[in-house]
């Protein structure tokens, strides 16, 4: 009899527990924020800033977990595979609109519930400070004259900055093969190789090139965006410099697995908006030189779909898509 009572009590308790999430208001336990890139990088610092601000608003710890490897595939997979209960969300990066075109994964922007776009950094066109070019047009003219002579770097083969270069050249009616790509482990090694004389062009974002630009070793000739950057207002847009309409940037946004319940998105999107508008986040962006860009919910989803289509188009044109 006693044993039966214990069993009944246990059953009652477990029933209560399993219903608890439905009764209590979200969130009632810690949230995990997955980052598909390594600790300490730009994406990681954005994630940690957002997490610390969300934590204050939601009243629950938000733990940042780095799931690296496979050039972002592993982490993006982990976000998509999580249970859609709002307790595991993640920071998507531009790679989500690129990887599936390369045949690396089946994941695409539609595999997620978009929450908010929080940052975008357009590509810049950088050369050595002592290079004989004054404008981006000079670079293009020189490249057209001797295709294959100049090499460019800034990220891995088929990465976002590789596409920036290829798309820019295509938009200016230059063969993308005119500037062979030298793969590197990110912008810093690429920039170092630029200064060391290993490559002649680096197409990475302005904040990544900032230290060497300020040190007078590198100059930026154009930024591939519709507007000039706040960080370096003297650098013209690609349109101003060459007439090309080509724009591209690396962006980051918060999303959850597909099928997040409405009560979760209704709680998270305003919290993210508050975090984005906070002084702490805006100060963070300006001190790191990062660009802010906001889009929430469906608008972020539409932004990703559009990016997916345009990146896919370029990747097919330059032969990077499978």
């Amino acid at each position: 009899m006693k044993r039966l009572l214990v069993a009944a009590a246990g059953l009652a308790l477990s029933v209560c527990l399993s219903f608890a999430p439905a009764i209590a208001a979200y969130p009632e336990r810690p949230i995990t924020l997955i980052v598909p890139w390594g600790a300490g990088g730009g994406t990681d610092s954005v994630a940690r800033m957002i997490a610390s601000l969300l934590e204050r608003d939601l009243g629950q710890p938000v733990a940042v977990v780095n799931r690296t490897g496979g050039q972002g595939v592993v982490g993006h997979q982990a976000i998509a595979d999580a249970t859609p209960d709002g307790y595991t969300i993640g920071l998507l990066t531009v790679e989500i609109a690129m990887m599936h075109w390369q045949g690396l994964t089946k994941l695409d922007p539609a595999s997620y519930t978009p929450l908010a776009l929080v940052n975008e950094d357009p590509a810049g066109l950088q050369v050595r400070a002592d290079a004989p070019y004054k404008t981006a047009k000079d670079v293009i003219d020189d490249v057209t004259k001797s295709p294959g002579k100049y090499k460019a770097s800034g990220t891995a083969q088929g990465g976002i900055w590789h596409l920036a270069l290829a798309g820019m050249l295509t938009s200016l009616k230059v063969q993308p093969t005119a500037v062979p790509w030298v793969p590197s482990n990110g912008a810093a090694p690429g920039l170092q190789d630029l200064v060391a004389g290993g490559v002649q062009i680096v197409t990475c974002s302005l904040p990544e090139a900032r230290a060497l630009i300020e040190a007078g070793r590198v100059k930026s000739l154009a930024v591939m965006a519709t507007e000039r950057s706040k960080l370096m207002p003297d650098v013209p847009t690609l349109k101003e410099a060459t007439g090309s309409d080509w724009t591209i940037g690396a962006w980051r946004g918060v999303a959850g697995p597909k099928g997040l319940p409405k009560e979760v998105t209704d709680r998270l999107i305003p919290a993210l908006k508050k975090a984005y508008d906070s002084k702490a986040y805006q100060d963070f962006l300006s001190s790191r030189g990062f660009g802010g860009r906001w889009a929430e919910g469906a608008a972020f989803g539409a932004f990703m779909t559009e990016a997916d289509a345009s990146l896919g188009k370029v990747m097919k044109e330059v032969g990077l898509a499978k």
């Binding site: 300490g40 490897g69 592993v74 482990n185 004389g197 040190a215």
Partner: protein, 495 residues
């Protein structure tokens, strides 16, 4: 001199010192837990520094990383489980000393020479940062190719036993380095369509498996007998240190210089520095036969080297914002957040901050001695635990560490697989150190070769076209060919 005093005054405040001490203690704990690296310790500090003043924030990072690299030697010595990758090169040597009952001597050497190495690196950072950063910035993939090849030649010196078995081990390591997507062409290799395998063989689970899990398996296979040797307590550390300092000053100096130089180069950090120094120590030793049997000489050189590399990595980071290793890659982000934008202008506009950084470096390395000694005393108590109890505990630590690397079970599976591999290799007399070296250097070597070939349109001679590359190339070829020439000469003489 106003800036120097202002810089020192910025550090000599109660709250700053307290932050540094707390971060140092945190660094020791994280560094001593296998799988949790110094880089990870720094990454965990980042969100905390959001809410700190600039100087304590930077101080916390410096103190934490220095302690973590030293603390990695503790489990490495006591349990053959490198706490951080920077300890892997001399793990076997330290563990051999423990087996001889000299755990405290090995750890004492680690404390003292880590601190001295750190101070040497700091001195170089203070005196010559702008100048040396300039040199480091001139290194392109051509130079890195030769450096990686030179590093691989270390395998000749670190492997004990038959050279053929050493080569087999090295080739295994190089093979593991090819797995995954992170190669120059961005093509998945040996992944069998598995998303986890795309990330390749992570170095840390592999290292824990090869060293620690294989040792657990071996102990279990033999019924986990207790240590035959009683551990001798370290009497007066100062006395022992004085003797080691006098006997091994050339090794120590060489380790300091090698470590600082490798640290300054943006492509290589403390782990590679330790490997190169250990190999050099053996190569130039008067008693190379003692290496691998628990000889303190190689430990001194390589433990000096990895801590010197840490300070060296700050040279390109402060002057050009180019990270010298994975730790400074994180630090640069924090410097920007705190308005201490790296670059030559930092030295001109904000010299007191630079002097404050230097002061923190000196303080952190000095604090390492008392904190390190305390950690050592606490650590060696573990050796009195019966090995039958210790082995399962070590295995638990291995599993936690391998999981923590990427928060996935994949790391644990990888680690267990490598544990079995390490066990089988050692049962057949195949050394595991060259395999670890192959995993460390394989990617660097391949990247440097492929990117150089793209830049040079496939012209192999390009590896000798740049003056620095030519010099390094000739040096590498000499190192690789000298033993052959020597053998040839002996053969001719005897004929």
């Amino acid at each position: 001199m106003g800036a120097v005093e202002a810089g020192i005054a910025m550090v000599m405040r109660f709250d700053v010192i307290l932050t540094i001490l707390a971060a140092a203690a945190f660094g020791i704990v994280v560094g001593a837990i296998p799988g949790l690296t110094a880089t990870m310790a720094i990454a965990l500090l980042v969100p905390i520094t959001f809410f700190m003043e600039p100087i304590p924030a930077v101080g916390a990072m410096i103190a934490c990383s220095a302690m973590a690299i030293f603390a990695g030697d503790i489990p490495s010595t006591l349990m053959r489980m490198p706490g951080t990758p920077a300890s892997a090169a001399y793990t076997d040597e330290c563990y051999a000393m423990t087996r001889k009952g000299e755990a405290e001597v090995a750890l004492g050497a680690n404390v003292l020479f880590s601190a001295l190495g750190g101070l040497f690196g700091t001195a170089v950072l203070i005196v010559a940062a702008p100048l040396l950063a300039e040199v480091a910035l001139g290194f392109s993939s051509f130079e890195y190719f030769w450096l990686a090849l030179l590093g691989l030649s270390c395998a000749i010196f670190i492997g004990t036993g038959a050279p053929l078995k050493g080569l087999l081990s090295l080739l295994l390591g190089l093979f593991f380095a090819t797995i995954g997507l992170d190669n120059p062409a961005g093509i998945p290799r040996f992944t069998f369509g598995n998303a986890e395998l795309l990330s390749g063989v992570d170095f840390i689970p592999a290292m824990i498996g090869l060293f620690a899990v294989s040792e657990v398996l071996r102990a279990m296979a033999s019924g986990a007998p207790d240590w035959e040797m009683r551990q001798t307590a370290m009497r007066n550390p100062l006395k022992g240190w004085g003797r080691m300092f006098v006997t091994y000053w050339p090794q120590q100096l060489r380790g300091n210089i090698t470590g600082t130089a490798i640290g300054i180069l943006p492509g290589a950090g403390a782990d590679i520095a330790a490997w190169v120094s250990y190999a050099m120590s053996r190569k130039f030793s008067k008693t190379p036969e003692k290496f691998g049997t628990g000889h303190v000489e190689g430990i001194i050189e390589s433990t000096s080297s990895n801590n010197a590399a840490l300070a060296g990595a700050w040279v390109p980071a402060l002057v050009f914002g180019i990270p010298g290793d994975s730790i400074t890659a994180i630090v640069i982000g924090v410097l920007y957040l705190k308005g201490l934008n790296p670059g030559p202008t930092l030295f001109l506009n904000n010299p007191q901050a630079i002097y404050a950084v230097f002061t923190i470096f000196i303080l952190a390395n000095l604090a390492m001695i008392p904190l390190g000694l305390a950690a050592l005393k606490a650590g060696t108590a573990l050796l009195r635990v019966p090995r039958k109890l210790m082995m399962p505990i070590i295995l638990v630590f291995c599993i936690v560490g391998a999981y923590a690397v990427n928060n996935s079970v994949y790391g644990v599976v990888l680690m267990l697989g490598f544990g079995v591999l390490g066990f089988l290799m050692e049962e057949h007399g195949v050394p595991i150190a060259p395999c670890v070296l192959g995993i460390v250097l394989g990617k660097l070597l391949e990247e440097a070769f492929v990117t150089s070939m793209i830049k040079a349109d496939g012209q192999l001679l390009a590896f000798f076209e740049r003056p620095m590359a030519a010099g390094l190339g000739v040096l590498t070829l000499l190192v690789l060919c000298l033993p052959l020439l020597g053998r040839l000469r002996r053969a001719l003489r005897s004929a």
